[in-house]
């Protein structure tokens, strides 16, 4: 099990950009590919927005199954409001990757 201190990696206490989310994604991916479980530690983080979580966590759903991530990815020191946001990001990512033709539906509905 490896633990990643998010604020240390992105060198700030604000998780508010997709670019910083990408940094976390690549480190998590590297550990998971080695078969290691990962804990993301959000200690000291002041603010999190969906763009960061989409890049850091949501994108993982493209490569790894929900059940695999359930076994291997953990979170600690998340505020309850940020936990709610993370759950929405995961739900959205599952839907995003499950239906590659989703845009066609939106266009049909629009017409």
């Amino acid at each position: 099990m490896s633990e990643l201190l998010v604020s240390h990696i992105i060198e700030k206490d604000l998780c508010i950009s997709a670019e910083d989310g990408d940094k976390i994604y690549h480190l998590v991916e590297s550990s998971l590919d080695k078969g290691q479980s990962v804990t993301l530690n959000f200690e000291g983080v002041e603010m999190i927005i969906s763009a960061f979580l989409n890049a850091a966590v949501g994108k993982l759903l493209q490569k790894y199954s929900y059940n695999f991530l359930k076994e291997h990815l953990w979170f600690t020191n998340l505020r309850e409001s940020d936990r709610d946001l993370l759950e929405r990001v995961i739900e959205n990512a599952q839907s995003y990757f499950a239906n590659p033709k989703r845009m066609d539906k939106f266009l049909r509905d629009m017409q």
């Binding site: 508010i16 990815l73 409001s81 929405r88 629009m110």
Partner: protein, 265 residues
């Protein structure tokens, strides 16, 4: 509008009121005139004293050669123009600018959600608008009404332009706004999911019983108390505006900020 061929002066003689948070959209229009329509100078003339007071207190007029005014009521959040992707600076601006501006009337979780919502809008504008004029921000607190209004404006390609550019979808500005607020819809073509920020904002505004106004191109869309209205503008805006109005006396529970270890998946 008055002026010589290379100058534009906005004549405000007939202006009876100006909402301070609309300084952002006005700044965007004036920058658009100056930079994209190649005028040497833009400015004002015949500003009535009450309007000058409003536009001085948030430092808007400083960009046009007027003196800075003190802000005795501490109700204005400074007008500011950010470069794209200056999200960290925008956060620092909110933290500093909200001090003593009605934010104390909000519970800490409500304040957190308000700031999170503004960051989502700022990020959205930075990511999608392609604005060469940057992003304009401005806010106004109304203590007697218990309201806080904030606008985030860009001078970019608009919701419609973003759909055309990213997905090749041709639609009206009205349809583009409606799509942007649809759960699961995103203009991102990459392998990163998106399309959540504006939906979360809508949910927050509904729960808070606030109001959300979006202008993009020739479309004006509003949402208040769960009701949506859509209008066509005679003159399109050169970019997009998102204005949120929140009820600062809202006593609803917006989740406690307790930390806990959690298995999310």
């Amino acid at each position: 509008m008055r002026g010589r061929q290379d100058e534009v002066a906005l004549d405000l003689a007939e202006c009876g009121w100006f909402d301070a948070e609309m300084s952002g959209p006005l700044g965007c229009i004036l920058d658009h005139i100056k930079n994209n329509l190649s005028f040497e100078k833009v400015g004002f003339c015949n500003i009535p004293a009450p309007i000058e007071d409003i536009l001085s207190r948030n430092f808007f007029l400083c960009d046009y050669g007027y003196k800075k005014a003190c802000e005795p009521a501490h109700t204005a959040v400074q007008y500011k123009n950010f470069a794209m992707k200056q999200t960290d600076l925008f956060y620092a601006y909110m933290v500093e600018g909200f001090k003593g501006k009605g934010v104390p009337a909000m519970s800490p979780p409500l304040k957190n959600l308000f700031m999170k919502s503004l960051l989502e809008i700022f990020d959205n504008a930075s990511t999608h608008s392609m604005s060469e004029l940057g992003v304009f921000a401005c806010g106004q607190f109304f203590p007697n009404r218990g309201q806080f209004r904030f606008s985030i404006t860009d001078g970019g390609i608009g919701f419609k332009g973003s759909l055309e550019r990213e997905l090749g979808i041709m639609c009206s500005c009205q349809e583009a706004i409606a799509l942007a607020f649809t759960q699961g819809f995103t203009t991102k073509k990459s392998n990163t999911p998106g399309g959540l920020g504006l939906k979360l904002l809508k949910e927050f505004i509904d729960k808070n019983q606030g109001r959300l106004v979006v202008v993009s191109g020739d479309a004006l869309w509003t949402r208040s108390l769960g009701e949506e209205e859509l209008y066509s503008l005679d003159h399109p805006f050169p970019g997009s505006i998102v204005e949120i109005e929140i009820n600062t006396h809202d006593g609803k529970r917006y989740t406690l900020d307790e930390d806990r270890n959690s298995q999310i998946f």
